[in-house]
């Protein structure tokens, strides 16, 4: 409910800024004009196909990145020697921008889904990995010793001790990765021209169709909001035991 108030505030601000002449409405049109442009878009099949394309790339890419990030993170985090050996390589690879890999992606996949996926996975993977690494390191030593004293196997330690501890970190990682994946999916479409919302934004941009452009940007933003909402709901379920969630249940 309160969240709606926040969004409404943003809409009002965007309506007011150009109306008060603080920015030129040719470059930042008021909410009403953007909404009208959005209204024109949502009735076209092309728009929904683009949304579908973007979400497909996003979902597949995110899934791959999360699975790979979690598995790699847990394995690397649980084995100190592995962690020491890979740390420098990870730090070397992480800051390489996905956008710099665009030629490579095009080289390998053209404008196919593969290109988008490569960029999405590359960017989102690190977000998950780093979060998982920190999460795994956060295990309570006593909890770990308890598991060791009862001679839990490697899998049981991961499953019952490491994983629940890392879970809050993983959630943050997934939320970060979800939006990074969306950003990269759109960017890849924007720059490479793979079909999707990003391509529509690019076309709107080069055509000087400013309200359309903002309408499409708003759509990506709203998708982000929806994704977060889903993540939060899921989190409340699976982290009911955690400090951060249990305190918020009114006593």
């Amino acid at each position: 409910m309160k969240g709606l108030a926040g969004l409404a505030g943003l809409l009002l601000l965007v309506e007011a800024l150009p109306r008060l002449g603080l920015v030129d409405d040719a470059y930042l049109p008021p909410t009403s004009r953007i909404a009208a442009a959005l209204g024109d878009e949502v009735v076209t099949a092309e728009f929904w196909r683009a949304v579908g394309d973007t979400l497909t790339g996003w979902a597949i890419g995110l899934t791959l990145a999360v699975v790979a990030g979690v598995v790699a993170g847990v394995v690397i985090g649980a084995v100190p020697a592995l962690r020491a050996a890979t740390a420098s390589t990870i730090e070397f690879l992480r800051p390489i921008p996905s956008v710099a890999l665009i030629p490579l992606a095009v080289l390998l996949y053209g404008t196919e889904l593969g290109s988008t996926l490569l960029l999405v996975v590359y960017a989102a993977f690190w977000q998950v990995l780093v979060q998982v690494l920190y999460g795994v390191a956060d295990v309570d030593p006593i909890a770990e010793e308890t598991a060791r004293s009862f001679r839990f196997g490697a899998w049981a330690r991961v499953r019952h001790v490491l994983w629940p501890t890392a879970l809050p970190y993983v959630f943050t990682g997934v939320r970060l990765a979800a939006s990074v994946a969306l950003v990269l999916a759109v960017t890849a479409e924007l720059v490479i021209g793979a079909p999707g919302l990003g391509k529509m934004i690019a076309v709107a941009q080069t055509s000087g169709a400013v309200p359309d452009m903002y309408a499409l940007i708003a759509v990506t933003g709203l998708i982000g909001v929806a994704i977060n909402l889903a993540a939060r709901t899921f989190e409340r379920r699976s982290l009911a035991w955690h400090q951060s969630v249990r305190r918020e249940v009114p006593a």
Binding site: G3, V23, I96, Q127, E144, L182, T220
Partner: protein, 254 residues
């Protein structure tokens, strides 16, 4: 000695593999590593470092610092107040999902095309991991610790400084670590717009000018930069979180 081996081992193996497998490459966009390394030596001269890398680093430092401060401050506020969180989160999530390349034009409307704009771009992208991690870290502060602070009248600034921030600091560190490499990435993206110098700008120029080995050499430089900065970061983190690592290492009997 062993630490050096750990740090250099895997990279050396990977580079060697790259060197060997790329040696006979005919592909224009994937030249042999030999050529790339030669280009590296040729390209990244002192002049170049001063002219292009230094301005980038300054913008990076400014953007990162700003993002850290904003992320932690805002994260504290949001983490401490469920009401604020409910109100602000959707708006933040909205902006978080907007790709920086489409955000840049809007930022340019308000911030012009100077360094200010580039710093804002860096901030707008790398504030999120800090923010999210701070929010979660603050929410996860142990309830007994909070009660202790309350019972002893540790309130206000001192509650935040002495209790909440330290307790959340491991998770904040995770966010800052994330943000560091994102900041480098965003530095590159910001320099794709209205820039006249900078590491990102140069790499993009190489890419457009079909100077592919030079472009790869720039990417390697980015990697090295990330690696160097992460070393610094780790140094700072080890010092700041001595209690945390000590606590965990001690109980593990090492």
């Amino acid at each position: 000695m062993k630490r050096v081996a750990y740090v250099l081992g895997l990279p050396v193996v990977l580079f060697a593999a790259w060197y060997v497998f790329s040696a006979g490459s005919e592909n224009f966009y994937a030249p042999p590593l030999r050529d790339i390394l030669r280009a590296f030596a040729r390209t990244w001269t002192l002049d170049r470092l001063e002219a292009d890398v230094l301005p980038s680093l300054l913008r990076l430092a400014a953007g990162y610092t700003l993002a850290a401060v904003i992320g932690v401050a805002l994260g504290l506020a949001i983490g401490l107040s469920p009401g604020l969180r409910a109100t602000a989160e959707p708006v933040l999530e909205f902006f978080r999902a907007v790709p920086p390349p489409v955000l840049v034009p809007v930022i340019m409307l308000f911030a012009g095309i100077g360094d200010g704009m580039k710093i804002i771009v860096i901030v707008s992208g790398c504030v999120w991991p800090v923010l999210l991690n701070t929010v979660e870290g603050v929410r996860a502060v142990d309830s007994v610790q909070l009660d202790t602070a309350r019972a002893y009248g540790v309130t206000g600034v001192s509650r935040i400084r002495q209790v909440i921030l330290p307790s959340a600091s491991p998770q904040i560190a995770a966010g800052l670590r994330q943000a560091l490499s994102l900041a480098i990435i965003l530095m590159v993206i910001s320099e794709m717009f209205a820039a006249g110098n900078g590491l990102g700008f140069t790499i993009v120029q190489f890419q457009r000018g079909f100077a592919i080995p030079e472009m790869w050499s720039g990417i390697i430089l980015l990697g090295l930069l990330g690696f160097g900065l992460s070393l610094l970061f780790r140094l700072a983190e080890t010092r700041a979180l001595r209690w945390y690592h000590g606590l965990r290492a001690a109980a593990r009997g090492r």
